[in-house]
Every structure is written in structure tokens, then in C-alpha cells.
Symmetry: C2
Subunit: 440 residues, 2 copies
Amino acid sequence: MRFSRAFLPVLKESPSDAQIVSHKLMLRAGLVRQTAAGIYAWLPLGFRVLKKIEQIVREEQDRAGAQEMLMPTLQSAELWRESGRYDAYGPEMLRIRDRHDREMLYGPTNEEMLTAIFRDEAKSYRDLPRTLYHIQWKFRDEVRPRFGVMRGREFLMKDAYSFDLDEASARLSYYTQLLAYLRTFQRMGIRAVPMKAASGPIGGDLSHEFIVLAPTGESEVFYDAAFEEMDWNRSDLRYDDPVGLHNLFDDVTSTYAATDETHEEDRWADISEERRRTGRGIEVGHIFYFGDKYSGPMGLRVTGPDGQMVAPMMGSYGIGVSRLVAAVIEASHDDAGIIWPESVAPWKVGLVTMRQDDEATVAAADELYSRLKGAGIEVLYDDRDERGGVKLGTMDLIGLPWQLVVGPRGIASGVVELKNRASGEKEELSMESALARLTA
Amino acid sequence: MRFSRAFLPVLKESPSDAQIVSHKLMLRAGLVRQTAAGIYAWLPLGFRVLKKIEQIVREEQDRAGAQEMLMPTLQSAELWRESGRYDAYGPEMLRIRDRHDREMLYGPTNEEMLTAIFRDEAKSYRDLPRTLYHIQWKFRDEVRPRFGVMRGREFLMKDAYSFDLDEASARLSYYTQLLAYLRTFQRMGIRAVPMKAASGPIGGDLSHEFIVLAPTGESEVFYDAAFEEMDWNRSDLRYDDPVGLHNLFDDVTSTYAATDETHEEDRWADISEERRRTGRGIEVGHIFYFGDKYSGPMGLRVTGPDGQMVAPMMGSYGIGVSRLVAAVIEASHDDAGIIWPESVAPWKVGLVTMRQDDEATVAAADELYSRLKGAGIEVLYDDRDERGGVKLGTMDLIGLPWQLVVGPRGIASGVVELKNRASGEKEELSMESALARLTA
């Protein structure tokens, strides 16, 4: 993409109404614009990151055997009366009346809807187990929306739902999602620690939240250094290995991790001092096992192997996809701007001309642009007629992993500069070496 | 995907409440389920087709230089008061009040929102031209939603918006989208004819709708056979060739095409009889040029090259993404079920075992499944313990382009059967030849 033709509005000043660093940077770097309280439009730069994060979530759900579908944003109130949550949910539920005065709502979650769909289609134990998910916009009418997309009202969520014949099988579905979550966050280049959680309005007695570590996080967290050493992609962790999944769950839950709400001083004291880690964190995912809480009252039954009718045991599993964009920024930035992990970066390379009025510079940059694109590398080419220093500042702000800088002096001696945004390291290289490095 | 583990509910009977063939088939083959009047959940099979269609739309928009972003579903009423459309829009607009009693609405289209975003960011003629688009759920509160997703209330639309310095440049943006639309529909394997249209509530004086030809279409259409011969992907049509785009527009608009509403008997009579085509059609896209209808009253201004402030000239361009799923089915089906064009098929190949209790059959099918998947081919493997005839009927119903049938008799003589769903042609082949054919 050529910057001169792109819609990438960058702000020189830090917006005064933003309180947290991710919100400030998302406005300054042109990721989002607010269109109403707690409601945001995703501009091209932010949209690219949102899609990258969504795609990682999708791939890891698919890998874990979940099947993607898509439920609508609006739901009928009737459905929520069946579970008893319509009156219980409170003012965060956006209630709507259509032209025929029918009561509707903008879905904050989909337990009821999918239970009803599954009830109409599943007949027997052969239709179990199944885990279904969708990635769809949700709405929660926060009384005071703030912190940008971190606590917005309209937000993108991945929510999965599992249906199993009995509790043992349902727990396996829960462990499977647990592993999928750990892998998902690891691929995004952030560290997420699973912590035992209260179930809240979803219900059930087994629940974990996933906390991304970020210095500016909303809550204090305490955890064992073991979480820094675990590789969730190691080959001995397999979805088709029930014993391994069970062991994973035991390992994870026996390793200390707690927020300030659940922190236990005596267990903490048992951990050797050099293994204690404290920090701050942001919740980006939450998983629940709740048995027959919805299948029971909503009448979802299948024939078991013995011919008896049984209510499937269920769980649900949420990831805040739009919130993750902000969480990654909270976890990865410096004073100059965002530092995108490569897996979620909007483009891999930012190509910059220091002098757009110098023919040799532009010719060299044009060639680099076309060869990088030809090799399938995502490049943002800042070909604007701006001062070189301004352009480098913009590149630091929007935080692409690599900056490839072309200027008249370097071209005269046959070199370009390659900068790693995360480490700040700069290196002078021939064009061929720079291309080889970036396309490797 | 193994059918035995998939969530693919297929109905034996044709649902009695569906009036048109696409709605019947989408219910029977398990693409969608209604969750409220005019609101549908997309089950895994339907979701896959929806994503394929969305991706073709996206790729052709990107190829035409449009930039993707994403605007929210909910909008503030304030925005629509600025253009004067809040009161004008009528009861099809779903109006909502949030917990603070602020007036909101579920967006039926986004001219106002994007004009306001662009107004805050664009400063000068250097910020033009730009075409931005998004693919997002919309809501129109139809008084009598019917025909499934063909006339639903919550629907997925691609809407693009162009901003140009003057009318000449804006017309070029319009022609660019015209070509992108023709290419988009051609890639989906359907014939879409552009027809001059009234602008309606969007406004403006230049507008075309795109009608997909289908025997069960909602309106009668009349067109010149020339439209059957045009290849919109031919290499002499280029987005960077203004003269060529202008000629394309002249060619398209001078070739006769009209719905019963705009049909002109005298122009029709001028076309030689063997070139006259009549049929029925479904609107799947609509493009509009409306100049300063929104930029004017909403105060969007940029500095022109001469230092004077000017209101950009705008157009908007819609494609009904969810409706297209139904339109493709209307255009491509037979008595046995759907016939997916390969570019939008949920899977390319349906692999069927005729006897799930025959070891040699299952071993051969397992091997075919694993080798097809290894070659990157999308396969639905019907490994259910059902009668072969039932499984073949299901494959015809869901309409995958190729059926690969494995049975004990064939395996004994070293062959499998490959059936082309569209032509009905069957061929006996060795496993190796069948694999070579499908992976070619």
C-alpha cells in the first residue's frame, strides 16, 4: 500500500480525551475513530490488525476441532425468557422493539440462541460431542464506556459453545478450549495467564479467565514464573490425547496464578521468592463449564446410548477479539508508539523514502516496493512528500516490525537502512541483502 | 471435514413454510435456520458459502483500489439528522434508545457515518480520490420479511463510498466500481446484467442495479445477448486506464438491458429478434453517483489545488453478500438440490463411502480423504453409518461440485466413481487417476 493513496490519518498531538496508552495510540496512529459513546469505526490500519487477530483465533479454534458458524446480532426476547435471563440481565442488555412492537435485544452472548438451534437438530448421542463457535459483534450497554475499545459498547467477540453427553466428556471439551486459548495468545506474541475465576451471570462452577500481562492492566496479578517458561505449542500437547489434556489442566491449575480478588497469601508464601511474579493484567478471555444450566430449562435433550433422554452438558468460551487489539498495544509499546508483534502487524515492513524529490532514492524505493510485494511481503510504502524525520516518526508511531529506509546518501554508497522496531537496532545493508533478510 | 463429526443438519422433507426454491434448499441442506422473523443463523455449511462470497467481493474491491475498513452496526440518530434522512427514512429504520435514552439506530447504510469520518480527516485535494468499503451486517425492518435471506431483516452487505475532487474524477470511480462488480459476479459463476436504475432514497442521478438471471427471479428483465458474450476479466480492461473505463461504461450503457419497470418497447424493437433475451432476475448490487448530496449539507470540505474549499463528489456502491447466497442457488439448482459453482462451493469434493461397514471401502476412503486434504483440497467426507443411497442423495442436495464415491464392488476391481454434480456425468477411475483429476 502506498501511503500517499491510503486512508491512514495520523494525529500529531496525543488526543486529550484518551486516558490509557492503548486508546491514545489507537487514535494517534489512526486505528479507530469513535462514532458514538463506546462505539468505534475501524479505519484501514486498525481493521488490518483486527482481521489478523480474528484469523489467529479462527485458526486455533479450527485446529481444536470447533466448527465455525455465524449467529445474528439481534435476538428475540422470547429466547431469553426461556432461560430466565431476560429479566435477570439488567441494563447492560440493549433492549429493542421492532416496528411490530416485538421485544428484541442486541446479543451480549449466545448461550440461549445456540442451545435452541441445537435443540431443534440434535437427536441422539451420535450428535455429540460438538463445539461450535462464531465471531460476531456484541453489544453491552456499559453505563460509562471508556478506555476506547478496551471497554466499548459494541465489540467483537469469539464465543464457542460445547455440547457433550456427560460431565467427563464436557470437561475434555473444556480442557481442549483451554489449550486452544493458550496457543491463541502465544501466537499473538503476548503472555496470557489462565486464572481460576468466578462464573458470574453465565453460571456454572468451573471457570477460568485469561489475563494478558501489561504494565497498564486493570487489575493486579500474582503468578508463578512457571507460566513464563511454558510452550503451549510443544508437540506432546495434542487434542486427540485425553490423558495429556487432563494433565495439562492439572498443571495449569496447580501452578499459582491469581488476581487481587482471588489472591491467597498463604499459598503465595509457599512459592520461592525468585519464582514470584507480580504485575498488572487485562482480561482477554473467559471460559465456563456450566453443565445443564441452559440445556435443562430450555429442554435440549438427546437419546443416550441406553435409550434414555439426557440433557447435554455444556460450556462456553469467549475471547474479546476487538479488546485484544488494545491489549496487545498495552503489552507492547514505547514512548514513540506501538510495537506490533509480527503475527498481528498490519504490515510487516514500512518502506520510507527520506527525500521524495530525489530521483535515485525514489527509483530504488520503487524497486524495493515492487520486489517485496512480488515476494508476498506486506509493505506500507511511505512515498509521501514529507520530511524524512516526520515519516520516520510516523513509522515508529504505527509500529511495523521492520523499517526499510532509503535516502540519497545511502543510495550513493549502495546501501539502505533496516531498522528493527522492537529492538531499535539499525543496520546498513545492500538492497539485495535487505531484500534477502525480509523475504527469508 | 468428517460428516460424522460435523454439525450439518439435513432435512428429509421440504419445509412447508418456505415459498421460493433457494429458501427451501437453504433450510433442507442446513445452510441457515431462522431465529426470529427475517433473522437467520448461518450453520457451518451456509457460513462457508457466505465467507467464500464475501472473500470474492473483498478481493475484487481490493483489486479495484478500494480500502477496507469496518464501521459499527449501531449509529447515532444525530448523524442522520445532519443529512436530513433521520425523519425521511421511515419505519424500515430500526430505531433504538440506549440506557441513557439516547436515540440510536441499526445502520441500514453508511453514507452519513463515512462522510462524517472523512470530514474529520481529509484536509486537501491530496487526500482525494479515495474509495473505502466495509462488509458489515445491516438491518432493515421489512414489514413482511420473507423468502429467507433473500428478503431478511438482518443482512450482510458490502458498501463502498468514493470521494473525488470533481465530477469527472467521481465518474471514473463509478466506472471502476462498475467493472469491479461485473468481475465479482463473473467469478461467482453467475451472470449479472447492469441496468440503469432509479436512485431512490440514496439520491443522485446516475445509478445502476445489477440483476442476476434466475428463472425464479422477482422481476422480469429484457437484455441484449451481447451481455452473454462479454468477458469482464479480459486483459484490455484495466483500472489504470481512464479511457478504457469510459469506453466500458459507454458499451455497457448503450447495450440494451431493462427491468419491466424501465423497459422501452421502441428500443427493444430495434434489437434483432435473435439477440433479444428475456428472463427473470434478482437484484444483487446497486451503485449510485450522488455528487455533493451528503458532503454538501454535512459540511465535508477540502482545499482544492487553487486554495478554494470544495465539497468532494461522492458515490456509494452496495452488494448484498448474504442475499447472493440465495441468488446463486436460484440461478444454479435442479430437482435434486443445489449445484454450487466451484468458486463459492462450501467444499470442492464430497467423498462418500457406500458401505461404512466394509473395511476395504473405509480404508480406501480414508486414504483418499487424507491425500486430498494433504493436497489442500476442501473435502467433506461422508463417513456416516447410513445407507449409500441416502448419502448420495445428501450429496446431491448440498451440491458440492464433485462426488467421489467409494464402494466394495469398485474397490474389488480397483476403481472409484467420480461424479460431476453439474453435468451429472459419472466416470469410473483408478484412485490415482481420481486424485490426479481433483488435484490438477
